[in-house]
Symmetry: C2
């Protein structure tokens, strides 16, 4: 019996590390000799810990990425592999893939970090004046002071003016703007406010499938009900009203659906929703009494001709006061994506519309407990929304850098789509926006069977094999959710063009080999 | 009935904004004319939101601080007051109070933010080599790339070596080190892992009273049971074993106490626990099967003669293998306190000892969902644990700045204690460490009665009155917890010496006037 308990523990560790949900018994029993590590008398064990945390999954940094890190280490240690480097296309981490930061942003950050540099002649005047403005708004003129929990006042004002310009003059009240530690922080905070109840009255949150796994992870942690609505792959991952209706009706049988989340431009699916679609969604939310959460962190990442970013807020206001005065909406933005790619700074904001004033007071209280988002990230967010203007000394360079980055991304979006679609058995929607392609892959029955025997999702089996054989690190579609019986992977379009071409060629070769091997 | 519902809503808003739990009915009814703001048809209202969030309280940024911000605005707008500025002694925010950042830290941060500066001759070589080392460890050599979720490898290695030096050679494995967004982030993450169960099996977490309200806030949010143990004010806020035993026995009647939290040096109470006391606590935790959480963010802030900082880890290892191999301990540190005071960067780390390997895998998964702590804060944490060494060009300046800051804090600790103890009706323990004094204040019965009539805690009434009359912003003891029938306030020792003297003189004057007024 004692050995059975150790066996169960081993299974858990094995699962957490390998992503294989049902490892073969023999394999685990073999590893059990090392059972000294499993103290039988800990306070905190897998059996006594928070079960909601156990239910959390996060594929973007899951087992496949952990294996990739391990392989990198093995390569450094001289282990022989059929490749010389790991190419990571698993995460939207632009700088890690060689994208250069915007010079102006980094100049202002250096000036804010070490204000002695303000005396130096090497920095342009507009960078200096931005830095002075931010420092004046900081306690003791230092990035090292706590800011207001909602974020620095003048940054929130700049965000509000940016939103107004973006939305053609629709007014924005800085009091509705909250600075966050990246968009993830804002999303989790809002869900925290919204989730309550038990059993059939437990809050349901509608998320797209495929989704960005932050959503499912946050819902698992909060113990909320994840309500899936499927994007229409045949229509370039668009949202169907009938599918929203189906999903909602289904959910109402067993929970209390209160929230509808949309990611536009889409992650992992790269679509850009049409204005019509956004209108439909807003009317649906109004009719069905749903709180809208719009994840709009890719708002500058629109590449396809005929596509345009429409903010939920702008469309909401264009629908007139019966909507704009009632529908509760929160929109998220971030310094991590678009042309900035400054993920490491964890900058972001959210704007809440039509939020009950009592709840607002609660929101302010809630964010106060964590004191404030990191101030360098707030400063960076300010530069994004208050970038160099025509006539200012940094304007030309800024625009050149911004345009170059976005044009290159557009090229790589096109390249990725085209090359993937040349592979028999891979079908790929256009990458209209964001930073990802999410192609559909045909897997032979034999491969599916073998994966299942190993307790792995078939596309996890496929991606893991690709990693081992080619050094390419992608994330299986099962980490984002997909229609039963379909298989995908997510790859970013971020690697430098040469490397991206190499990667796509290797994917093609691997897919063909894999198909032959299991046919 | 509809008007009664609006009335209830008004009460809620009033409470959240004023901190008054039972506002007089007349006052609220007066305000109700403005009830158009209360839509009756929101998805998210005070009645439908997460009730755990509603239960959160956080005094350090609570109603009194909100009022202080308002008063500052009124002063700027020219409103006449009996004072010309608000002096904030409510929060340990050193830079906001004029403390200067360490030059070396900021030089490295500027270099990391804008690596072009590495070509410049204006920076010392050791600053440049630190910056190069950090950048090499970043994806794409940029602070803008995501780091590993546990934190940058080389930073965790530096933290481990720092801990080993601090603890006289007790080994530290970098794999046990997790970088965090300030200590708060680490504390909440650990509590999230530990809390589970319902009813009598719900996790109980023992916290000192008085406590830092992050703990009570996090426990409320997680729906855990707060288990109070009282510090002994008569013995300079020390921990009594008998009180721990009482508290635990009491708690076991209605919940499952699993965790014991200690803040040392103490916040808000400023004590430094003796080595003997820490030994006792560890033996107690071992005997009673409790997980230890040691909040050691003030580890360099020790001022009183005869006092010394003893880390829980060092003492644990000195107690021998029967403890060091079994007791589960996590210790927190931060860039926000000590001589650095860099709160705005949200840097920190935690070290976990004897954590079950299965739980560790879960912890890594959990922190992955939020991607990574802000990278500039990680870089700053690295500089703290890898500061200039003898022989390096920045060493002399660094040591001068560090020593000056800590000596000044020691002076102000002494000054605060001495001046407060000259006030009849105020009794104050020595500020042995940390950044706060938590004096006991005698309040006249008449004042207590008047406060209660207003639905306010008597020391909230006192502090609010002090704010209105003198512009001094303190936090009432009730925000941290205290023995029934005793009253306190927390004030930081951070204002510049002149301002601190002025503040203490005003406190004295106010206390005397208040006592006369209500006697």
């Amino acid at each position: 019996q004692h050995s059975e308990s150790i066996y169960k523990r081993c299974i858990c560790v094995y699962r957490a590390l390998s992503g294989v949900s049902e490892p073969p018994r023999g394999l685990v029993q073999e590893k059990m000799t090392d059972n000294a590590v499993f103290s039988q008398n800990k306070v905190l064990t897998i059996d006594t810990m928070n079960p909601n945390v156990k239910n959390v999954e996060y594929a973007v940094r899951g087992p496949i990425v952990q294996r990739a890190v391990q392989i990198e280490k093995e390569l450094r240690e001289g282990m022989k592999k059929p490749f010389t480097e790991v190419i990571k296309a698993n995460i939207g981490d632009a700088h890690a893939m060689g994208q250069q930061p915007i010079t102006f942003f980094r100049q202002v950050l250096a000036l804010c970090s070490y204000p002695e540099l303000l005396k130096d002649n090497m920095f342009p005047e507009d960078a200096k004046s931005r830095a002075r403005r931010i420092l004046q708004a900081c306690g003791g003129s230092s990035l090292g002071a706590y800011s207001a929990s909602q974020g620095i006042d003048c940054v929130r004002q700049d965000v509000a003016r940016y939103i107004e310009r973006r939305d053609g003059g629709v007014p924005c009240d800085p009091d509705n703007v909250y600075l966050t530690s990246g968009a993830s922080d804002g999303i989790v905070t809002m869900l925290k406010l919204l989730v309550c109840g038990e059993g059939a009255s437990k809050t349901g949150v509608m998320i797209s499938i495929p989704q960005y796994p932050l959503y499912s992870a946050a819902l698992a942690e909060l113990g909320a009900v994840q309500v899936n609505y499927y994007l229409n792959e045949e229509k370039c991952w668009s949202m169907d009203l009938s599918e929203l209706e189906r999903s909602l009706a289904e959910a109402r049988k067993h929970c209390n659906p209160k929230v509808l989340c949309i990611i536009n431009p889409g992650n992992p699916t790269g679509q850009v929703q049409s204005r019509q679609c956004i209108e439909d969604v807003i009317r649906f939310a109004a009719k069905e009494h749903l709180f809208l959460m719009a994840d709009e962190v890719y708002q500058d990442n629109v590449y396809a001709e005929g596509c345009q970013f429409h903010s939920f807020k702008k469309v909401l206001f264009e629908l007139g006061p019966q909507y704009s005065n009632t529908v509760e909406l929160v929109s998220f933005h971030s310094t991590s994506k678009c042309y900035m790619g400054e993920c490491g700074f964890r900058g972001g904001y959210m704007e809440v519309i039509n939020m009950d004033p009592e709840v607002k007071a609660q929101l302010i209280k809630l964010v106060s407990v964590r004191l404030c988002p990191a101030v360098p990230g707030q400063a960076l967010m300010d530069m994004v929304v208050n970038s160099p203007q025509p006539g200012e000394p940094s304007y030309t360079t800024f625009m050149k850098e911004r345009t170059a980055t976005l044009s290159l991304l557009a090229e790589k979006a096109k390249l990725t789509e085209e090359m993937l679609n040349t592979v028999p058995g891979i079908t790929c929607n256009p990458v209209q926006g964001a930073m990802y392609s999410f192609p559909n892959i045909s897997l032979p029955q034999k491969a599916i069977k073998e994966a299942k025997a190993l307790g792995q999702a078939p596309d996890m089996f496929y991606c893991m094999k690709m990693l081992e054989e080619t050094g390419i690190c992608l994330v299986p579609g099962s980490g984002f959710g997909q229609k039963d019986g379909t298989y995908h992977f997510r790859m970013t379009i971020l690697p430098p063009t040469d490397k991206l071409k190499l990667l796509l060629a290797k994917v093609k070769e691997f897919h063909q080999k894999f198909t032959r091997q299991y046919s």
